[in-house]
């Protein structure tokens, strides 16, 4: 009787642990998905040239740029390098990596909340191997020191972005904030 009772307790514990693990996984998965959908991205391809942007390419870039910002937000929020491994390459990955490592040392972290991005294609290479975008981004930027908010600001930012096609996605190769874009259209 006692052994049977212990067995039931043991099984119940295993079931409870597994339920908890599944619940935690679902919550985390939901939060990642929620964070991803929280990043709003629109794209205007009217100014694209010399190559036209096809619909499939447009959808791919929107999807991958959104994912890149979601990943960047996660990396800078929890000071982890893993999220930037896929969507960033080259110079963009390098400075993001240095930022995360710097934040680990200084105890700072950043949050990018309520992001909206309006992308404008300003150059799409003749062979389709690089695209330049202007991103007018709007978000709530919070800077935290040891978990305490020391800066909270609603910003409208201008980014010059270079993306290149990778094996299975578009990746951000260059991400550079500028005070404003040049006013003269290229084409």
């Amino acid at each position: 009787m006692s052994r049977s009772f212990l067995g039931v307790r043991f099984l119940s514990r295993i079931v409870l642990e597994r339920l908890a693990a599944v619940t935690l996984f679902l919550i985390l998965a939901q939060s990642v998905r929620a964070a991803d959908t929280a990043v709003q991205v629109q794209m205007d391809t009217k100014g694209a040239g010399p190559r036209q942007v096809e619909a499939l390419t447009e959808h791919g870039i929107i999807r991958d740029y959104r994912f890149a910002w979601t990943s960047m937000g996660q990396a800078l929020s929890v000071n982890a390098l893993d999220p930037i491994e896929g969507p960033f390459v080259g110079d963009a990955k390098q400075w993001l990596r240095e930022t995360v490592l710097g934040q680990q040392r200084s105890g700072l972290s950043q949050k990018y909340l309520n992001q909206t991005h309006h992308l404008e294609v300003v150059f799409y290479a003749p062979e389709g191997d690089v695209i330049e975008l202007h991103d007018t981004a709007e978000y709530q930027l919070q800077l935290l020191a040891a978990g305490k908010i020391i800066h909270d600001e609603h910003v409208v930012m201008h980014y010059v972005v270079l993306m290149t096609p990778g094996a299975d996605r578009w990746v951000v190769r260059h991400l550079q904030a500028v005070p404003q874009f040049s006013a003269v259209p290229q084409f």
């Binding site: 010399p50 110079d91 390098q94 400075w95 993001l96 240095e98 930022t99 710097g102 934040q103 040392r105 200084s106 105890g107 700072l108 950043q110 300003v122 150059f123 290479a125 003749p126 062979e127 191997d129 690089v130 330049e132 202007h134 800077l143 020191a145 020391i150 800066h151 600001e153 930012m157 010059v160 270079l162 260059h174 550079q176 904030a177 500028v178 005070p179 874009f181 040049s182 003269v184 290229q186």
Partner: protein
Amino acid sequence: MRSLIAILLTLCAAPFLVPRCAAQDLRVPASILAGTDLTIPTNGSGKATFYLSGPGVSRKIDVNLGEQIPLPGADLKTAGRYLAILCASTCESASFYVTAAKAASITFLVHPSRVPVSLGDAVSGVAFPFDQFHNLVLAPLAIDFHLTAGNSSVLSRSVTTHDGVAWFRAASGKSAGTLQVVASAGDVSVRRAVQQVASDPCNLRITGKPDKSGVLAETEPIHDCTGNVVPDGTIVTFTATDKNGKDTVDAPVKQGVARAQMAASGPVTISAASGVVLGNDIRVEAHP
């Protein structure tokens, strides 16, 4: 009345007696060049903590208010927006931009690596100037594109960058060989090479003679329409038709000529084709 005067005097003297710990008027320039040292002055007295947050940098520095905060250029090398935050009893912040310095390198993408001669809009190049810290130089910059094949110039054009990019598209040259493609801006230059190869064969002509096993057919040296010998490996299809039917052989070009040994007996008609080009027909009396 005395007490009122004492209160007023105390209030007036207070700013001079109480240590001023609040950071005030954090002044930074609107923008600086990448890699430039920056000094940020502070007001007041007492201890404070200074934070610098920007692309590639995150610093926490203990400072004394009233002193200047030196920021080395190494912390300000990546172009973008930086936040300077000074926290004492409260936090004050200011932002500034770091902009790219002068161009120190050019990222140059050229397509394709191998191209047939005399093809319109066949070669394209895209150039992005970067400074020594790998920031995209967005200020307009003249990029000179030079395309040369052998000793002759195929293209020479100066294009001013817009939004940090300049590009060209051009026809390939008329002779097979290496096409040198150079992009330069000031003392910065980068070179790429495109292999120009002969285009499709033109005027395919064949000869044939009987041999011990049938017929030996071969082409005259095969050229494209601008006189370049077609590259080795180009396939020529020989067809021999005799009383027994058809025999077909695919033969690769070697040193400009394709050869095929074909089994046949009696009178035989031989033709050849490569790509969309048909050669002449010849009649040979085979003696197997």
